[in-house]
Symmetry: C2
Subunit: 215 residues, 2 copies
Amino acid sequence: MILYDYWRSSSGWRVRTALHFKGIPFERRVINLSPNAGEQHTPEFRALNPSGQVPVLIPDEGARPIAQSMAILAYLEERFPTPPLLPPLDDPWRRARARQLAEIVNSGIQPYQNLAGLTRLKELGVDANAWARECNARGLAALEAASQETEGRFLVGDAPSIADLYLIPQLYSARRWSVDLAPYPTLLRVEATCASLPAFAAAHADAQTDAQRAP
Amino acid sequence: MILYDYWRSSSGWRVRTALHFKGIPFERRVINLSPNAGEQHTPEFRALNPSGQVPVLIPDEGARPIAQSMAILAYLEERFPTPPLLPPLDDPWRRARARQLAEIVNSGIQPYQNLAGLTRLKELGVDANAWARECNARGLAALEAASQETEGRFLVGDAPSIADLYLIPQLYSARRWSVDLAPYPTLLRVEATCASLPAFAAAHADAQTDAQRAP
């Protein structure tokens, strides 16, 4: 498998975690999203994904591309069901709630504060950092509250699920915007549990070959 | 089943379409999202969904709630697989692409132009209508381009899929913002095909009991 990815893409990070967790070998191809590179805008990459975003997965040699983290993760779950990233089919409510928690991040936080949107809002005179902080805080509060009904060692019970894959990169982004995370003790506790797992460590932004060091 | 819903919620509309398409009887309970009602903010409703959004599905009497259209639709597809809203498991690429197209709307357009976000951007001095138009045009262009690889009578082949469920309410929203839809002939053609199906007609915003007539 080939994964088009960028170290700091939270959407790519989710897919990296799933690939490591399921033990699926993959070749990572870097698309440099930094403003002075903008490799997501090339005609070659747009042919793979007209949305001009990573991640893009090429499932097999010569196969056609799949974009959008949710679509890629559903594909991986159906093709490589073990170890699972969803509660079992005979627990449909928890299965649904894992997807609900993931979507609170996927459609409820990340879009509001991704690079392209913030850049445009800045041009329109909005304080993009304050906006990003506000959107993170509102979404993380909903995630903290909704997770109370399912939390165990992870957001949904005692095994990692798709919900945790969305949580970890979002907390990393939230820290970039200096969001106060103290009101979200469940999220922080689950983050610490995830950090102890090799798949989550291998998928971390800072562990990627293209990671830029401070400043 | 009970569906908490509002006539003009594009996310509720997706779920209504699925319920009608699969022939699942449901009781619709209206949560009035209009600014002077704001029923999504009551403690009773927040207990069902801490995100304060419709749709919320209560799958069975006394059952616990599920929110987020993607999570609800996945739940319905697994519990009521016929008629399907995804290409079959033995066509995994098309199955993934149906989800990808749906996500282009779900996380790539709708969040940028939902009521809560636009209200806040207006307070920050942004021309919310222009912003909504811009976000719709960018996302619909990606959807038009990505659908070229799978389109038949519908966005993915000759049967309705989850992708069409996301398309229809988004085009309705786009018209509210006066988006020029001429550059998206595939989307408009598929919309016309969907309009001829009873499930799509029954789910239309204007067909709901709480629909407000012009102006």
